[in-house]
């Protein structure tokens, strides 16, 4: 009766060949990879040094003002400012800036790549049917599976961290750009066409502006997912708040973990609220 429960055969996938392929790809394309590494490093450095250049109290004031403008409540502004201040107060300010620069770079790249892809697949059902399973894969594939290849290709540190974060965080912006454009009222699109808009005119002048709120919601989600990758990214050497969490967890230092974990949460909440508020403002204008 064993055959009922046993699988009839086992395919021997030559995983070693895949290993070799990735590694020889890394060796053979060193020039391109190095170019990408340098470019990303340059981007990260300039984001980080910009952030680093701003005195801490200016950022706190900016957060206060944004919070106030958004809700028209002084209280909100104060709460936001105190939250940000508390990260600095527990000595995690430099680490927060490192984390923030990785998040900003990842979100910027996600937007730069994801938005055009979203637009493309909204126009083409076939492209959409090809891209969607890839997006599903990117979202569900355990991060470690591509974390190590990322290291093989891009070394250890913030560059592969940005890569891995982008792979994970780009999905919502693609999906929601696609969804938003497809959900634009059909009559409005027809109207644009009926006046003789070219496809590009209809897209740029009508569909994208009409889908703006949804696209912004996608950007907000992308931001949140990038934040969620912070700790994972530190496992390939990205320094910042995530590394602090990783060290404390590995040492079973619960208290230290809680402090740095809370800093991650505060940063995430601030980014979420401030970006959401901006979307709402835009929506009200429309």
């Amino acid at each position: 009766m064993n055959w009922l429960y046993q699988f009839p055969f086992k395919l021997n996938i030559d995983t070693a060949a895949i290993d070799d392929a990735v590694r020889s790809f890394a060796v053979n394309n060193e020039a391109i990879l190095q170019f990408m590494r340098r470019g990303l490093n340059g981007l990260l450095s300039s984001i980080h040094s910009t952030l680093d250049f701003i005195p801490w109290w200016i950022l706190v004031i900016v957060v206060f003002v944004l919070g106030f403008l958004q809700t028209k409540k002084i209280k909100t502004g104060i709460v936001y400012a105190v939250m940000l201040f508390s990260i600095g107060a527990v000595g995690l300010w430099p680490l927060m800036l490192l984390t923030l620069s990785i998040v900003i770079a990842s979100v910027a790249i996600s937007l730069l790549l994801g938005f055009p892809i979203g637009v493309l697949i909204s126009m083409n059902d076939r492209a959409s049917s090809i891209v969607r399973p890839i997006l599903d894969t990117m979202q569900t594939m355990p991060v470690f599976v591509y974390l190590i290849p990322a290291v093989l290709l891009f070394g250890l540190g913030r560059v592969p961290a940005v890569m891995a974060t982008t792979i994970y965080a780009i999905v919502p912006i693609v999906r929601l750009t696609n969804l938003g454009i497809r959900q634009v009222n059909e009559e409005v699109v027809e109207a644009a066409k009926s006046f003789g808009s070219t496809r590009i005119q209809a897209m740029v002048k009508v569909q994208i502006p009409q889908a703006f709120a949804t696209i912004m919601a996608g950007l907000n989600q992308t931001l949140m997912m990038a934040m969620a990758m912070v700790v994972t990214a530190s496992m390939i050497g990205a320094s910042g708040l995530g590394m602090e969490v990783l060290i404390s967890v590995n040492r079973v230092e619960v208290g230290r973990g809680l402090v740095s974990g809370t800093a991650v949460v505060i940063l995430a909440i601030l980014l979420d609220r401030l970006s959401q508020g901006w979307v709402k403002d835009k929506e009200e204008e429309a």
Binding site: F144, G157, S234, M235, I236, G237, S239, I247, N250
Partner: protein, 329 residues
Amino acid sequence: MNMKKLITMMAISLLALAGCAPSTGSGSGHIVMADAGWDSIRLHNHVVGFIAENAFDLTWSEMSGSTPITYEAFKNGEIDVYTEFWTENVAPYRGDVESGVILELGVNFNDNYQGIYVPRYVIEGDAARGIEPMAPNLRTVKDLLDYPDLFVDEEVPSKGRIYGGIPGWAVDEILYKKFMAYGFDDTFIYFRPGSDAALSAAIISAYDRGEPIAAYYWEPTWLMAQYDLVLLEDEPFDADRFHEGLTEFGAADVTVAARKGFDTEFPEFTEFLSNYSTSSAMTSAALLHMQVSGDDYLNSAKWFLREYDEYLDQWLSAEQAAAVRQALN
């Protein structure tokens, strides 16, 4: 309609949960071993497990997790046996052994190495790969100070990079102290690789490209068995100054440990574990075999037992050893 569907689905989920009620009670004949996440501990688990099954008629399983998490489970008695305990890497270990929270049964091996490695081609070059020697005079850790430009950190191109310990491992702190004490701080970045897998990948990646890299690593590992890296020399070991990062790593004790009370429940098996002693070289060889042949852990464990057949007589009674040998054939 939708409500109905929802209720049906909830009912199914409940049933499924009920069906999955844990089948506890593995009985007295079951041993849980720690799988703290690296290859050699899994190999030793399978060797010990194979012997447990065939010589002691016990069943066994592994519980996986990071070092700190498995250690907590170990202290709580959820894990019975640690076959390869890197005592230097868990700060509270010594204290816990002394206070009797856990039992140290014996030393698995203590001929291991760890420290800062560089690929051999960095010093000697590799004619076959067309690599010129990059730092022919590099011998010691302190010599690295002369080469910040060679081991350049792409993130901070004005400085060199030394890959340090895995965050949270005890060696991380010691290495960082060494980094500061030797004055690397001005010209180098102390880079924490985040995880051992990431560190391995970084070394492999550099090695494949023939690039220079200076990184903490340890033996026995398949990586060290497969790749030709040189351990940089350091000041002679001194137990006190070592913790300040001022000397080389002594060979760390890698022990076999068991939870409190294990010895009274499984006296015979405990005796075997106390005898269980291998070496770094043996372990490396088995790991290299596994890496090259693609065998799984169980088959590699069998290979190990066949290869080092004579050890069975040291670990086990004649009768037990015979049972294992029979199972191997």
